[in-house]
């Protein structure tokens, strides 16, 4: 059986590429060893955000009285892990069902099993051989394993978190990225004692330093201990020994930085220094006609970029050429408040020597933010001095992860700060802070 395209891995890189391939008429098969939807739908983006949303509601209910709602007995208030998990499962099941349906509807053959790359553009799935003109590797990544010395510790990876019947009192989360912070805050919101540890002093690499300090401050006010640049030494008597501390630990959640998952291959696949699949500008590996997208290529670790790469590469195979802009995409953090960033950080702008201007506007004076009781946050727009081109935007707000989409449109269309100032924003909305901040850049904010 010869296909135009075989995709290995049905996560947000692979399944989106497959649907696109079906739409443009490529005879396509997708090989998945376990989970349609990948990490994103099974234990990543969707389920963790569903859990966080439950935690946010739990938190919001506590201030119901402030909004004029009586009858809530705070003493009786508790977080039901099983029910929150069940809600999350309902959502993911629905979405995964949707993806499976779309794959079928677009004529994609779904092959269950583990793929192995043969030579001559063939793929073996459990010893069945299939061939394709093009192959996309979208096998994703997993967190680096914890040190062997900690094998006696109650370690859980996100994949298994949803199998737990309950969450114990003392939780340690490892990792130095957005998802580590999200999980730390989740456990904190549902009333656990949380410590966040990272084995390097790089924390939240890629985020603007201003946002990083905001996150650090937030962790402090939330009473989440943050310990950087330390390696766990051992686990003993329900305590994690780390950097001279002994931290009570009933659950150790592994949100470590990620390493690629490779398929076996008869022709060795070339790797980058950091251990990901080495790819060209057109996402092609060292084997002609074999592409790699998503986490496995190490070019980005977010679902929306992986999906965009998938569409891009199918277009490329179809002869629809275009550049892939790998810089303008949002990085979201679904904490309370949410944080989001797009474009260049202030440090990166300084490094390339562009003269810039920063325009800020706080949520504390925004009407809608007051109405919602979410006045924690701000917008920060960085524009170049010469033309006013928007170079980067950071937002901290309850709905920052949605609000950043507007910034994406502005940046993709190469809008200037003057265009933002001219864009009428509805009143009252939190998004008015865009307009106010750009007024500030152009001349003077109205409401500040």
């Amino acid at each position: 059986m010869e296909y135009d395209l075989i995709i290995i891995g049905a996560g947000p890189a692979g399944y989106v590429a497959a649907i696109r391939a079906g739409q443009v008429g490529l005879k396509t098969a997708i090989v998945e060893k376990e989970y349609i939807g990948g990490m994103c739908m099974n234990w990543g983006c969707i389920p963790t955000k569903a859990l966080l949303e439950s935690a946010k509601v739990f938190n919001k209910v506590k201030v119901a009285e402030e909004f004029g709602i009586d009858g809530i007995d705070l003493k009786k208030l508790s977080f039901n892990w099983e029910k929150a998990k069940a809600r999350s499962n309902r959502i993911t099941r629905k979405l995964i069902g949707g993806v499976s349906h779309l794959l079928k509807e677009n004529g994609i053959e779904i092959i269950s099993g583990t793929a192995r790359l043969g030579s001559d553009h063939s793929i073996y799935v459990d010893d069945k051989k299939i061939r394709a003109k093009n192959i996309i590797i979208a096998t994703g990544s997993k967190p680096k394993a914890m040190d062997k010395m900690l094998s006696n510790a109650p370690i859980v990876e996100m994949e298994k978190l949803f199998e737990l019947d309950s969450i114990p009192e003392n939780v340690i989360v490892t990792g130095n990225h957005v998802s580590s912070v999200e999980m730390a805050q989740f456990f904190n919101l549902i009333g656990k004692k949380v410590t966040l540890i990272a084995n390097s002093d790089f924390f939240m690499v890629g985020l603007d330093e201003y946002l990083i300090s905001t996150v650090t401050e937030k962790l402090k006010t939330d009473n989440i201990d943050l310990i950087l640049n330390v390696y766990p030494e051992k686990f003993e008597n329900s305590e994690l020994h780390i950097g001279g501390f002994k931290i009570k630990c009933d659950l150790l959640v592994n949100c470590n930085s990620r390493k690629a998952i490779f398929p076996e291959s008869e022709i060795p696949l070339e790797l980058t220094e950091r251990g990901f699949l080495k790819t060209s500008d057109t996402f092609e590996t060292n084997i002609k006609g074999v592409f790699a997208i998503g986490d496995v290529s190490g070019k980005s670790f977010v679902a929306h970029v992986a999906s965009a790469q998938g569409i891009h590469i199918v277009n490329y195979i179809k002869g629809i050429k275009g550049n892939f802009d790998s810089t303008t995409y949002p990085i979201n953090m679904y904490t309370i408040p949410e944080m989001s960033q797009i474009g260049m950080t202030e440090q990166a702008i300084k490094d390339v020597g562009i003269e810039y201007k920063i325009s800020e506007f706080p949520l504390s004076v925004n009407g809608k933010a007051m109405i919602e009781g979410n006045t924690e946050g701000f917008i920060r727009m960085i524009s170049d001095k010469k033309y006013g081109q928007i170079l980067g935007i950071q937002i901290v707000a309850a709905n920052a992860t949605d609000m950043i989409a507007e910034a994406g449109a502005f940046m993709n269309l190469e809008a200037t700060i003057y265009d933002v100032a001219k864009t009428i924003h509805a009143h009252p909305t939190v998004s008015e802070i865009y307009m106010e901040a750009s007024f500030d850049a152009v001349e003077k904010a109205i409401h500040h």
Binding site: Y387, Q389, L413, A415, T416, D419
Partner: protein, 431 residues
């Protein structure tokens, strides 16, 4: 009151012209109809007369610069007209500016200038330069940043081709844009080639308007028609002796008699019998257009390039009149004084390359006409007459037809008719 006179479309969809010579200077008083500037367009070199009397306030464009139709040429301070009256005057169509005399500097026969080609500035202070920019009808799509950059870098964003969705111009496109040589950067030009860069092995010269037009027309003809060429020979000893006899009386009338007038005559008479050859196809309306006039265009070689003036209604002219018309048109062509009128409405073309050299050719049809007849050099050749090989005078002919319109049989019958007339000129004169 200021009146801005824009470079008018003096006919047949001109797009631009090159200023060869200014006749006026700033501050000079001019009369209506007086020549302002000598322009080379893709068809002709012509004087542009002033539509108004007044004083020249501003002159746009230097000699050698290319001006687009609709762009300002001059600003004239109109005397004695104020306010609304001036607007009315300026908006009124400028009719029939007729140059005083044939052969004078101005050769534009009739110019109907619509009111739209004239703009009055909003105030007496004169127009801002911005208002005078000629913008293409459709605004190019561009990102705000690209617009800001182009403005800053003094690049007309409409000249940049965008690589974004729907051809949107982005920052990168502006950065990658290499400005073409602006016309003002060209070295002075008097219609002669301006050399602006020379490498070791090649010399770069800008295309002249006439070369642009030739290139466009030739390519259009080859791409729009189905060319087919037929070669024939005709023995013309009899025609030669008639020409010898007529030479004297013609030169008495100051007219040089060549073979061409006879060929024009033979062609016209053959066209009358074969109307397919004097037609054109109207594809859009799915119909044929048969010409009832016999306007014979004649290709004339000039130093600047090929021009094709037209002998109108050649069927109503005698050999003498045709000869006179040919002389007149070739003189005008040589002096670059052909008017647009002189070159309009041809229905069939003759190209007499044989006068320079060449026996057979595959002439390119003067689109949208249906055919072109090429005339080669007359050769002394052995011919068979009454079963005897004798020295003959042979005229080679090459007929290119648009095979969409003219079938092979019809083309053969047509050229046979011409051969018959040329080999028996008395018959031709009788008909």
């Amino acid at each position: 009151m200021r009146y801005i006179f824009n470079f008018p479309d003096i006919g047949e969809g001109l797009e631009e012209g090159t200023i060869l010579k200014w006749y006026v200077t700033k501050g000079q008083a001019i009369k209506a109809g007086q020549a302002l500037v000598n322009m080379e367009t893709d068809k002709i070199v012509t004087d542009i007369p002033s539509p108004k009397a007044g004083i020249i306030v501003t002159i746009y464009g230097k000699e050698g610069e290319t001006i687009r139709v609709g762009s300002p040429l001059v600003e004239i301070e109109i005397e004695g007209v104020l306010g609304d009256a001036a607007v009315a005057v300026a908006n009124e169509p400028v009719k029939k500016v007729i140059p005083e005399e044939e052969g004078a500097a101005g050769v534009v026969g009739t110019m109907e200038l619509a009111g739209k080609s004239a703009i009055l500035p909003a105030s007496d202070e004169g127009p801002s330069t911005l208002q005078q920019e000629v913008k293409p009808a459709a605004k190019v799509q561009a990102t705000p940043l690209a617009r800001a950059m182009a403005r800053d870098m003094n690049i007309d964003i409409n000249t940049i081709s965008g690589t974004g969705p729907s051809g949107r111009v982005s920052k990168e496109d502006v950065q990658n844009f290499k400005s073409p040589k602006r016309s003002s950067e060209r070295v002075q030009s008097n219609g002669s080639a301006a050399v602006y860069a020379s490498g070791e092995s090649v010399t770069y010269e800008p295309l002249t308007q006439i070369r642009k037009a030739i290139a466009r027309n030739m390519l259009n003809s080859k791409q729009s028609t189905a060319h087919m060429t037929l070669f024939e020979e005709v023995e013309i000893s009899e025609l030669m002796s008639i020409r010898e006899k007529l030479k004297k009386p013609f030169s008495d009338k100051n007219t040089k008699l060549t073979y061409l007038p006879f060929i024009v005559k033979a062609t016209v008479q053959a066209l009358k019998l074969h109307r397919q050859l004097n037609s054109q196809i109207d594809w859009e309306n799915e119909r044929m257009i048969y010409n009832n006039r016999y306007n014979i265009a004649i290709a004339v070689d000039t130093p600047e390039g090929l021009v094709v003036p037209v002998i109108k209604d050649a069927d109503r002219l005698s050999i003498l009149e045709i000869a006179q018309k040919i002389t007149e048109l070739s003189d005008k062509a040589r002096d670059r004084k052909l008017s647009l009128d002189d070159m309009k409405e041809g229905t069939f073309t003759l190209t007499n390359y044989g006068s320079i050299g060449g026996i057979y050719a595959t002439p390119v049809i003067n689109y949208p006409q249906a055919a072109i007849l090429g005339i080669g050099r007359i050769l002394k050749k052995p011919v068979v007459k009454e079963d005897q090989v004798v020295a003959g005078n042979v005229l080679p002919l090459s007929l290119s037809v648009d095979h969409r319109i003219v079938d092979g049989g019809e083309a053969s019958r047509f050229i046979n008719q011409i051969l018959e007339y040329l080999s028996d000129p008395v018959l031709m004169m009788m008909e």
